[in-house]
Amino acid sequence: MISRDEVLAVIYAAMESLNEELDEGSKIAVAADTKLFGADAVIDSLSLVSIIIDVESGASDAFGFPVVLTDDRAINEPVSPFTSPDALADYMLILAAENE
């Protein structure tokens, strides 16, 4: 069974990877409540795309099944899974439970 910490580790790795590409003054806090999407997001849309792609790829490798975050379901969730690492972890745990 995949734990919340394992999911967050994948998300944090994607955020660290993004930080490597950002200027010193633009780096983001690698934390569960960092705003990734929405009016108060701390990153631009292309950076969010970057995180999503890295999380999909990292999670698929780590968990051993294809993790797809860019389907209609994710987009139609009442609260966007991309709002923060916390929200994304919640969503990914649902996907993981369905895959077990």
Binding site: L46, S50, I53, S57
Partner: protein
Amino acid sequence: MGYEGKTVLVTGSRRGVGKTITQHFLDKGATVIGFAKGESSIDHPSYHHFQVDVGVPAEVQAAFGQIAKAFPGIDILINNAAVLTSQYAMIMPPAAAQAMLNVNLFGAFMVSREAAKTMRKRKWGRIINIGSMAASLEPIGDSVYAATKAGISTMTNVFAKELGPLNVTCNTVGITAIDSDMLAQLPRHKIEEIIAGLPVPRFAQADDILNVIDFFASERSSYITAQTVFLGGVN
């Protein structure tokens, strides 16, 4: 101009223009990955064939899963795969129309989408899509084909905006008629009539196409993006 160290993906690599482009990159030192529905028709140590129907998203994604394990990424993508049924719209078989949408437009989208992910990290890439004079000339019988090729140019330009910050350029080569299996499906006299009306009234040669591809692919063309270059004076 050499392509040593570059990995090039060509869709529709098995025959026609795609095979010519594939051979060109191989001759210039590239590693080439070919996508085609059928088996490989190219025997070269630097050629790697994947049997993929680009109109089927799951097949495209599965192929990119394999590519990720064996290659560092895609440097240059040539979206060439296309199917053509030319027929009056009122009698165009719906399945043929759907196939053109799936392969020519949606297929190019899916392959570009996945290839762009591999270009993203390395901050370098060239996406070159094969368009057609049909997009501009809008010939009778080509309602869907011409629409897909016009769509390719528009799609390319949006990709150019999205990928510009990643140093990935996206351009279209609008090719004219060239002797190929695809062209052989059409009445020769109709093609000749169209060709006769072009500013340069002759069929395209392979090098006409390769010249523009080399231009778009070159290091010096990093400031050239969201462009469609038509051959033969079509505009």
